[in-house]
């Protein structure tokens, strides 16, 4: 284990390199890559790496990048790509296809605002647009978590009980281009953590048609099976946490990460780097005597319903922070979460930091003030924080 001073993009690339090499005894590693800000550094770094048995294809679009990954994966190789924002939008058709084919592809997605008008800064709307694609989605808070999540993603995705693609999401620039100390594992450790991929439905020379026609009955069954596989992710993830900890000496975070929740009456729920800022504001509020806690949603898909519900029992007021907007409705996280809150709990949605506005602790403090003082929940509130 070495500590390196790297951006989260590079942290992701380092983890991918190790994971790719770990499959050298099996069918190898590869994927299609295509540049888009702010993900480009990741694939550029990958292109400097040597794989014992692997190759990268410099394709002409994100759509093809995912298609190439499907080809690699269908042939039994470990596969990876990275994208962001409009790239993800362009890729979407094949994002669905990859999961419908039950392929354990891992994608690093840097959350960026969709355009035009063009905006390269952070916004969660791009990956949340893909929430229904049947992928596992993990959202990260710091560089180390990006590195760890890539390895965790492969471990869970490739598990026979799961066999689904996984998306590791990180905030544009706030993480992607921000350098911090990151512990980088040794190859031998990663080899132990990631068994070689043995895809049961790998395409060989048997006559098999992968993805011909489904009639309604077949589609019902395949959706049910897919849904059930996502449901098994929690157990598999928990096992992987234990294994990870045993090998690497640190424990990846749970799907839902609590902060000072022990007696919290008010709770702030958020995703990504916003959660760090929330913690600062929570600490300040606690110093002023308010019983405030925070939850960070690390896993958005599968939706950790039980965990969230458990943490929300008995709370009086909940602020749901969305760095996204489902136009004409409100925050995506809010819309999914509000149904979980106990009947007497006040749930208020705050959408902030859209288009990369820099969310500071003061903004959270304002939100806590509003949450504390409002008489009832209102329409989702869009808070402007940008400059």
């Amino acid at each position: 284990m070495t500590t390196q001073f790297v951006s989260a993009n590079h942290a992701a690339a380092l983890a991918v390199t190790l994971a790719g090499r770990a499959n050298r005894g099996a069918r190898g590693f590869g994927g299609g890559i295509y540049p888009i800000t702010p993900q480009t550094e990741c694939i550029e770094f990958l292109c400097t790496q040597e794989f014992d048995k692997g190759s990268l294809v410099r394709v002409e679009s994100e759509h093809s990048a995912m298609a190439v990954c499907m080809g690699y994966s269908l042939s039994g190789a470990r596969s990876f790509t990275a994208s962001s924002s409009n790239g993800l939008a362009y890729m979407t058709e094949n994002v669905y296809a990859a999961s419908f084919y039950r392929l354990p592809i891992v994608m690093m997605a840097v959350n960026r605002t969709l355009g035009p008008p063009w905006n390269i800064w952070v916004d969660h709307g791009d990956t949340l647009m893909l929430r229904d694609t049947g992928w596992i989605q993990l959202y990260c808070e710091d560089n180390q978590e990006v590195f760890d999540s890539i390895l965790m993603a492969y471990r869970v995705a490739e598990d026979r009980r799961v066999l689904l693609p996984a998306m590791v999401c990180q905030d544009a620039f706030v993480l992607s281009h921000t350098m911090m100390q990151t512990e980088v594992a040794e190859q031998e450790q990663v080899d132990r953590f990631l068994p070689e991929l043995d895809l049961p439905h790998r395409v060989t020379h048997e006559p098999v048609t992968v993805g011909g026609l489904d009639f309604p009955h077949e589609t019902e069954a395949h959706r049910a099976q897919h849904h059930a596989a996502l449901g098994r992710v929690f157990d598999v993830y928990a096992e992987a946490q234990d294994e990870f900890e045993a090998i690497f000496g640190r424990r990846p975070a749970d799907p839902v990460v609590p902060y000072r929740m022990e007696d919290a009456e008010h709770v702030v729920v958020s995703m990504g780097t916003t959660a760090s800022t929330v913690r600062t504001a929570v600490d300040e509020a606690r110093e002023q005597g308010f019983k405030v806690g925070a939850l960070r949603l690390r896993m958005f898909r599968p939706w950790p319903e039980e965990l969230l519900a458990r943490w929300l029992v008995g709370r009086e007021r909940i602020a749901v922070l969305d760095r996204d907007i489902s136009l004409g409705h409100g925050g995506v996280l809010w819309s999914e979460l509000r149904g979980l809150a106990p009947r007497d709990t006040l749930v208020q949605n705050y959408m902030l930091g859209l288009g990369g506005g820099d969310i500071r602790p003061g903004h959270i403090t304002e939100i806590l003030e509003d949450l504390r003082t409002r008489e009832a929940s209102g329409a989702p509130a869009l808070m402007e924080v940008g400059q």
Binding site: F100, R102, H217
Partner: protein
């Protein structure tokens, strides 16, 4: 539930079932009803089962489900009357079925329903709706439905106009009149609905899917027609006057070898080496390759076989109850009749006036065309079968009558002995001779000598033989004068070409009107001829003009044709249609060859002799197949040959002796083909050669090798017809199911 009329249409992709349901709905809508119509959308392909639905009501329709309990059932294809077509169908309901069968033929099968039938496919096909393999019956059947539902023709017409399908209205109108209906006679229960609310079938995980079994989809049920392998008459065989199985012997050379080819030839005639030299080859006229890149050199192939293998069986057992048959005349017709009879084990006596058998083969045809050893060999093979030959006696009427009495049957094949004279001033001059006599002298009497300029009058093979023989007999110059054009000359084309090649001049459109000379001919006066309209033979009739000129010459040979000499017929005998009658009594005496038909070629004579032998045996109560000349009109036309499959390739020509050598001797001019590659040019019209084209082009891959030829797996055949269309040689056909 209020009074909703529910209609279900069962069709196949391409038949227009969805449109059928739409027309029905639109017609009801015109009557002021609420209407709803929709089809099943899935992976339909042309021919696959499809359903469509229509609902009609007085009230607004809110039900958007498929129709599970139809009141009316429209079935566009009788083959769809399978497992689930009648699902949920109520007794008393209307069942309209497209079927070629009459309504009554279904008996009690649909007695619980108001059962209507219509042959919509035939009507639609007649009106040209759709393609041959996918006939679109929707509009036609809609016409029948309108009648049954009490929708007027006016409303139907307006509906068709509104939907832009007026071009199909005539068919619908016909169906309106033609539909047959029978009222229900039994009371039944509504058929059970076999579509359960929940499907219990297990569906595997995509991640466990490692191998896909075949579909088991029996696409043969989509088909309305099916291909079959057939044998069709080839033009060469149809055109051969001897009835040779031409395709068979050519293909046998290519596939099975010369022995088999010889056996096939020997089944129809004993003189292949002869015919392979002197036959005008009508087969080559009929050959479908003729206009494409030149006929197959069939005559050359026949010679190739005849010169290399024996045609006749080695020996034949004489039957214990053999018939005794006399054949009078040892020319090709007589030889053919004798051969046919002897092959079947009968006792044949062959009478010939000349000292040797052969007739025109010896007396008429020059040796440079037909070497005598060829004639000897083939006649020898006939005699080997036990034919008794009696030569050297020209029979008179008494002798003929006696022979006829002594035999079970008699065949007369004496040919044409009467020579046509030229009735013109000076015809008696010395130096003017009948060409046949000249040839007889050349061929049988140790030769003849001529000198100077010889004029031959006529345009047939005798004229060519005379001209070319005259050249060889010493003439310094030979001119053939003929009253029509060169294209009308009846001589074999190659003979004319070779004659010209040898320096013989053709003077066409010239009619001899007088001979000049003092005791001996010194010139022939020729009148110019113009061609008028065609005569009965289809050739343009020559019209003699008054313009004449004199062609100086030293000798004239007349080759103006021959006719039958019946001077040896006993009194009262009359030859009618190949049989001899005494008054009204049909004798077991038959005519053959030129005597009977006057067709004038060796090949015709062979066919005629073969037929006479059959007729004689049949008249004697034998169970034999009498040879009939096939009908040329039944032969595969060139338009049915897929010329695209065949690269153009020139005919392998016969090799010819060089001109310098040939005009100074009677050596055989034509040396035959150099090799047998020519057999591969044969299209094999109407006869499968197992070329694999059907196998290669079947889109379904369900034509398989099966013994000789192929087998089609009809359980999967979609009836597209590509195999038939692509068959290079019309050895397949499509039949409607």
């Amino acid at each position: 539930m209020h009074n909703t009329l529910e209609i279900r249409v069962h069709g196949r992709g391409g038949q227009g079932g969805v449109t059928c349901a739409k027309i029905v709905a639109a017609a009801y809508a015109r009557l002021g009803k609420s209407a709803q119509t929709f089809g099943d959308y899935a992976g339909e392909r042309s021919g696959a089962p499809v359903r469509a639905y229509t609902r009609i009501d007085d009230e607004p329709i809110t039900n958007r489900n498929k129709v599970y309990t139809p009141d009316h059932l429209l079935v566009l294809d009788a083959s769809l009357l399978g497992d689930d077509t009648l699902d949920g169908f109520a007794p008393g309901g209307l069942l309209l079925l497209n079927t070629p069968q009459p309504n009554a033929s279904y008996g009690e099968r649909f007695a619980a329903y108001r059962f209507a039938t219509l042959d919509a496919t035939s009507i639609a096909r007649r009106h040209g709706i759709g393609t041959r393999s996918v006939v679109i019956v929707n509009t036609t059947l809609a016409g029948a439905y309108a009648k049954l539902a009490g929708i007027s023709l006016e409303v139907l017409e307006a509906t068709f106009a509104g939907l832009g399908v007026m071009s199909n209205f005539a068919a619908a109108q016909e169906a309106y009149e033609a539909v047959e209906v029978r009222e229900p006679s039994l009371v039944g229960a509504r058929a059970a609905v076999s579509v359960p609310l929940h499907n219990e079938r297990e569906v595997g995980e995509i991640a466990d899917h490692q191998s896909s079994p075949p579909t088991g989809l029996r696409t043969g049920s989509w088909s309305t027609q099916r291909p079959q392998y057939v044998e069709n008459l080839a033009p060469c065989s149809a055109w051969c006057p001897a009835g040779n199985q031409v395709i068979e012997f050519i293909q046998a050379v290519a596939r099975d070898g010369l022995d088999e080819a010889g056996r096939i030839l020997g089944a129809t005639q004993p003189l292949a080496s002869v015919c392979g030299r002197v036959c005008p080859a009508p087969c080559m006229e009929g050959c479908n390759r003729k206009e494409y890149d030149g006929s197959v050199n069939i005559r050359g192939i026949e010679r190739w076989i005849g010169d290399r293998v024996r045609l006749a069986p080695e020996r034949v057992e004489r039957r214990a109850d053999a018939k005794r048959v006399a054949v009078i005349g040892g020319g090709p017709a007589g030889l053919s009749a004798a051969y046919e009879l002897a092959k079947l084990g009968h006792a044949v006596t062959l009478y010939e006036g000349e000292r040797e058998l052969g007739g025109v083969l010896r007396t008429g045809i020059p040796v440079y065309r037909l070497p005598r050893e060829v004639v000897d060999r083939e006649i020898g093979a006939i005699l080997d079968l036990g034919v008794e030959a009696r030569c050297g006696e020209f029979l008179d009427a008494t002798r003929t009558a006696a022979i006829a009495r002594e035999h079970d049957a008699t065949i007369l094949a004496t040919g044409l002995q009467e020579l046509r004279p030229l009735d013109a001033p000076g015809a008696e001059l010395a130096g003017i001779e009948q060409g046949i006599r000249f040839l007889h002298r050349v061929n049988l009497e140790g030769g003849a000598r001529l000198s100077g300029h010889v004029v031959v009058l006529g345009g047939g093979n005798t004229a060519m033989d005379c001209a070319r023989s005259a050249l060889r007999a010493g003439a310094s110059k030979v001119t053939v004068a003929y009253r029509r054009g060169e294209a009308e000359m009846p001589a074999i084309r190659e003979e004319i070409e070779e004659a010209k090649h040898e320096g013989i001049e053709l003077l066409v459109l010239r009619q001899p009107v007088a001979f000049h000379g003092d005791g001996r001919v010194t010139g022939v006066e020729l009148a110019e001829v113009e061609l008028g309209p065609p005569d009965d033979s289809g050739r343009r009739r020559p019209v003699v003009s008054a313009r004449t000129s004199v062609l100086a010459c030293d000798a004239v040979l007349l080759a103006l044709g021959q006719s039958a000499d019946t001077g040896f017929f006993p009194a009262g005998w009359e030859l009618r249609d190949g049989r001899v009658y005494a008054g009204d009594e049909a004798l077991t005496v038959f005519g053959a060859g030129d005597l009977a038909t006057g067709d004038g070629t060796v090949t015709h004579a062979i066919g005629s002799g073969r037929r006479a032998a059959g007729l004689a045996l049949a008249a004697l109560g034998e169970d034999v197949e009498v040879f009939e000349r096939p009908d040329r009109r039944c032969a595969v036309p060139v338009t049915d040959i897929r010329l695209d499959h065949f690269a153009r390739a020139a005919m392998s020509p016969d090799r010819l002796l060089d001109v310098g050598t040939r005009v100074t001797s009677f050596d055989e001019v034509n040396l035959g083909m150099e090799h047998q590659h020519e057999v591969h040019r044969c299209f094999s019209c109407g006869h499968c050669t197992e070329c694999d084209t059907c196998l290669v082009y079947c889109p379904e891959g369900i034509i398989r090798r099966g013994g000789p030829g192929y087998e089609v797996d009809y359980s999967y055949c979609k009836g597209c017809g590509i195999c038939v269309e692509e068959c290079p040689r019309e050895a397949m056909r499509m039949s409607t199911l």
